[in-house]
């Protein structure tokens, strides 16, 4: 009996936490609620969805095309496509992964088009507008050096193939979990790990060669 009194609080805590977890799993996320509202014609809900995802999609686009204006236009096109194609989305809970898929498709197409036009070969490092957004607090020399390294890494990533580039962006620049990356790219978890390992090693080796020539 004494044992029961000792264990009762523990049992209560475990039961409560399990219950709370169940409730959390059942409750639709904010994204899912908004997606359902958009399906019912709520345009404000779509604007709210844009606000939730705009930073991720805009940064994905920026890392691909490395230009503010192009990234803005590209990311806007992603949302426009998503809005028009929303009725075709089968699972409302997969909106995030689905949006990233649209985003990656747009990025690939835009990147190819710009590359064909010689957009990237004509672009100097001085054009890279990310330098305007380096956090302050460092000395100008350090900021400049940090910017130089970032530009170097960006240019090195640009030389990688699409599959390596994308998995690096999703994991190391966007910080997405493995399972979501697997959903976006349509590959199993083990493949995500092995592809990511190869892409990271490839980048390290490329940078090693670049640094050795500096």
């Amino acid at each position: 009996m004494e044992l029961f009194y000792l264990l009762a609080p523990l049992i209560f805590i475990v039961a409560f936490s399990v219950n709370a977890q169940d409730e959390g799993d059942d409750a639709p996320s904010e994204t899912t609620v908004l997606v359902r509202a958009v399906r019912q014609g709520d345009k404000q809900a779509f604007n709210r969805l844009v606000l939730l995802y705009q930073s991720r999609i805009y940064n994905l686009a920026f890392n691909y095309v490395k230009n503010d204006e192009e990234a803005k236009d590209l990311a806007q096109d992603v949302f426009v496509t998503a809005y028009k194609a929303l009725p075709k989305l089968r699972d409302d809970t997969k909106f995030g992964a689905w949006l990233y898929q649209i985003g990656l498709n747009h990025c690939r197409n835009r990147y190819k088009r710009l590359k064909r036009r010689g957009y990237f070969t004509n672009k100097s490092l001085d054009d890279d507008q990310s330098s305007l957004q380096i956090a302050g607090g460092e000395t100008p020399e350090k900021e400049l050096e940090q910017q130089r390294i970032i530009n170097l890494v960006r240019d090195t990533i640009a030389t990688m193939n699409d599959a390596e580039k994308e998995i690096l962006m999703l994991r190391d620049l966007q910080g997405l979990p493995y399972d979501e990356i697997g959903e976006i790219l349509g590959i199993p978890l083990g493949t995500v790990k092995s592809k990511l390992s190869r892409a990271r090693t490839s980048l390290k080796n490329k940078l090693k060669r670049v640094y050795s020539t500096l």
Binding site: Y58, L196, R200
Partner: protein
Amino acid sequence: MNCTDCQDQFSDFIDDEISLKMARSFKGHLASCPACSAELQLFQQTLDTLHAFPAQKVPADFVIGINEKLAPQPFAKLQGWFSFISQHKLTAGSALATLVVGVISAAVLQLSPVDSEQILAKNGIGSNNMQAMTVDADKDHINYYPGIPYLAQKSQDSKLPKPRAQVQFTSVKQSTPNGGHNSLLDSRGPPNMSYPSAPHPSLSHFGTTSPDLVVTVHSKSTAYQHALIRQLTANHQWKTQINGNSLLITLPYSQLADFQHLFGPVDPHINTNELSHLNNSSSSRLLTVVVAFH
């Protein structure tokens, strides 16, 4: 564990996706291999650089831009059509096709044949009573546009005569000392040409019987005739009257050369010296010219 196996585990190790057993073996190899330790350090630095990438701020008008793109746009169908063309690279092909069609159409229009000899025979050119000079005003298609002397002269050398009209210039002297005939042609003209002092039949329409010059234009091309009429009536200093197929023009003597230019190359030219008696009589003497179209 060898070096290759060890370095294959870098990514999983950093993301904490490695099993306990593998971690033990991995750490054991690192402790005994400075090369792999150095590689791991470089691997970690690479990822640290990626993670330090600054997040780009989304432009303030981002959402507005999306809504603008979603708003229905006028001429959306037209834009869609143009975008279809640009996407399928039809621009160059379409332009080329249009150019080819245009060139062929122009060639067909310009090469429409006119049998000059038939026209000459039909109009009795070469007879003594009315012949002044007969020229192929349109030996080349360039002469299709009257009043462009340089191009017209150039066309005279063309090896591909495509006559569109024949022009006759006939001068009529007011008082004829040699029996009603006057040669107003210069030395390049055919010999023994003579001109009647009798009134030209075309003048009866205008109520006058004494023109200074009669120009007869033989052309089957109405386009040529219309173009010529437009040129003749464009000069506001010239008084023009149209009646049927004839045009009565009163112009200053000093503008005879301009008038002649409108007909393109005329060889032999009107010998203006022969008309000098008109000019001498009065500085403001006006020429009366009848242009008859046949």
